[in-house]
């Protein structure tokens, strides 16, 4: 039986790890290589590393630093930030990334995503879906001024046969007040791809709620690991009490 995945999300600003609230006010939370070493020693299921300012600042991800992060990891690693070309993806795979996470380029150029899937296989291409609720609508958050509904964006990405989604609620980012269950539930019913639900985890009950009320099979978290004593293993032990299959 496939186990659910509990995945630490490391967000990077080009210098160090940061943690945002609602995608703003980044606060420094440490060194990425050290963090990766700790998560590896804790046997986490997977790691996601995102340079969240690369696209905005029009720079490439720092391959040397990413290489050092991956060196610490004997589990799968997904890397994202400023990916624009097939060569960018190749560079990341060569230094040991298993998947790449793409957002900005996917919004601007769906044809590129199709090309990347054809080249590397869908299992390699993960799409970051950053969602903000505006009035009664779910819209894709971005700094390009692109107006796109969640529904429209996902239907484009489904058409490209991408491998996975990282679904993040911008409104819940860093708030530690619980997941947007309605968003996750709705999203799970629009795709048959694996989804990592992100943003809102603050205590153990939030994780129980996420996995019992939606069909999601992976969760990503950052704040709870930075700002509380909880570890990924604590979350798994909690989920076991709800009969959710976990890898202990």
């Amino acid at each position: 039986m496939l186990k659910i995945r509990v995945i630490p999300i490391l967000t990077f600003n080009g210098f160090g790890l940061v943690k945002t609230k609602k995608f703003s006010t980044p606060r420094m939370v440490g060194n990425p290589v050290q963090a990766a070493r700790v998560y590896n020693s804790r046997g986490v299921d997977e790691l996601v590393f995102l340079d969240i300012f690369a696209s905005e600042q029009k720079r490439k991800i720092n391959l040397k630093m990413v290489g050092e992060v991956i060196k610490e990891c004997y589990m799968p690693v997904a890397i994202g930030g400023g990916i624009e070309t097939i060569d960018d993806i190749n560079d990341l795979l060569k230094i040991g990334a298993d998947k790449v996470v793409i957002k900005t380029k996917a919004l601007k150029d769906a044809a590129f995503i199709k090309q990347a899937v054809a080249f590397f296989g869908s299992q390699c291409i993960t799409i970051a879906v950053d969602v903000e609720r505006r009035n009664e609508n779910y819209m894709i958050h971005n700094k390009l001024g692109i107006e796109r509904s969640l529904k429209e964006f996902v239907s484009q990405m489904e058409d490209c046969d991408v491998g996975e989604y990282v679904l993040t609620s911008v409104d819940r980012d860093g708030m530690m007040s619980g997941f947007d269950i309605e968003l996750v539930d709705r999203f799970m019913n629009t795709t048959n791809k694996p989804v990592i639900a992100v943003a809102g985890g603050g205590d153990m009950t939030h994780y129980g709620e996420l996995f019992t009320k939606t069909k999601v099979e992976a969760v990503g978290s950052a704040s709870i690991f930075h700002f509380t004593q909880y570890t990924p293993m604590d979350i798994k032990k909690e989920l076991l009490t709800h009969q959710v299959p976990v890898r202990i």
């Binding site: 496939l2 004997y74 298993d98 080249f119 996975e164 791809k193 694996p194």
Partner: protein, 200 residues
């Protein structure tokens, strides 16, 4: 020395990192001379079947590896796409020949009540325990949308359940292969690799 075959299909660095951890000497290479000198050959790989075969052929590696493994009986490990390429054929978009060392075809996973790709940690049921002592039932990391369907079930070394039985590992003479990624499966994966190298 272990030759990790470099044919432009993904994650060779992770395989070498795992071997370094186990203190096993290796080289990432497509150099025929070095491959001929090696004691063990590892064929890793992610991506499409068609592209994988194309890349092997463009470097003449299909012929060289077939000679090394089938004629010279060199110890061989295939990982993920490196297992699938051993089949007689892939089926998408239509039938394309593989290396043909193991009878069977690679097919798309479909008609299951679960999400595709099959992505994450799944436990295996061991059928041939040559390299799986102490790790039967353990979880390994899978990430694939296609699976190997062998003609002869006697080559199946392990299976995993994902709505259907999926072949997780193959064993035939000097050929060993895994659909999952041992180099990404932490303790269980490193134990399997250690068993593979320690066990003649």
């Amino acid at each position: 020395m272990v030759a990790i075959i470099d044919y432009g299909m993904g994650n060779v660095a992770s395989v070498q990192k795992a071997l370094n951890f186990l203190k096993i000497e290796s080289a990432i290479t497509s150099d025929p001379e070095l491959i001929e000198k090696s004691d063990v050959i590892i064929l890793p790989g992610v991506g499409s079947f068609l592209q994988g075969m194309k890349n092997l052929k463009s470097k003449g590696l299909d012929v060289l590896l077939t000679d090394q493994v089938l004629n010279k009986k060199k110890k061989f490990l295939g990982i993920c796409l490196g297992m699938q390429l051993l089949a007689e054929a892939g089926t998408e978009p239509n039938d394309n020949p593989g290396l043909g060392w193991i009878k069977g075809k690679v097919k798309k996973i479909e008609n299951i009540p679960f999400r595709i790709p099959h992505m994450g940690w799944n436990n295996i049921n061991v059928k041939i325990d040559k390299y799986y002592s102490q790790i039967n039932e353990k979880d390994f990391y899978f990430i694939h949308s296609y699976h190997f369907v062998p003609s002869n079930s006697e080559v199946i070394a392990a299976t995993t359940n994902y709505g259907i039985e999926i072949v997780a590992s193959i064993q035939q003479d000097n050929i060993f292969a895994t659909q999952f990624h041992p180099e990404k499966s932490q303790e269980a994966g490193l134990t399997l690799l250690r068993n593979f190298f320690n066990n003649a």
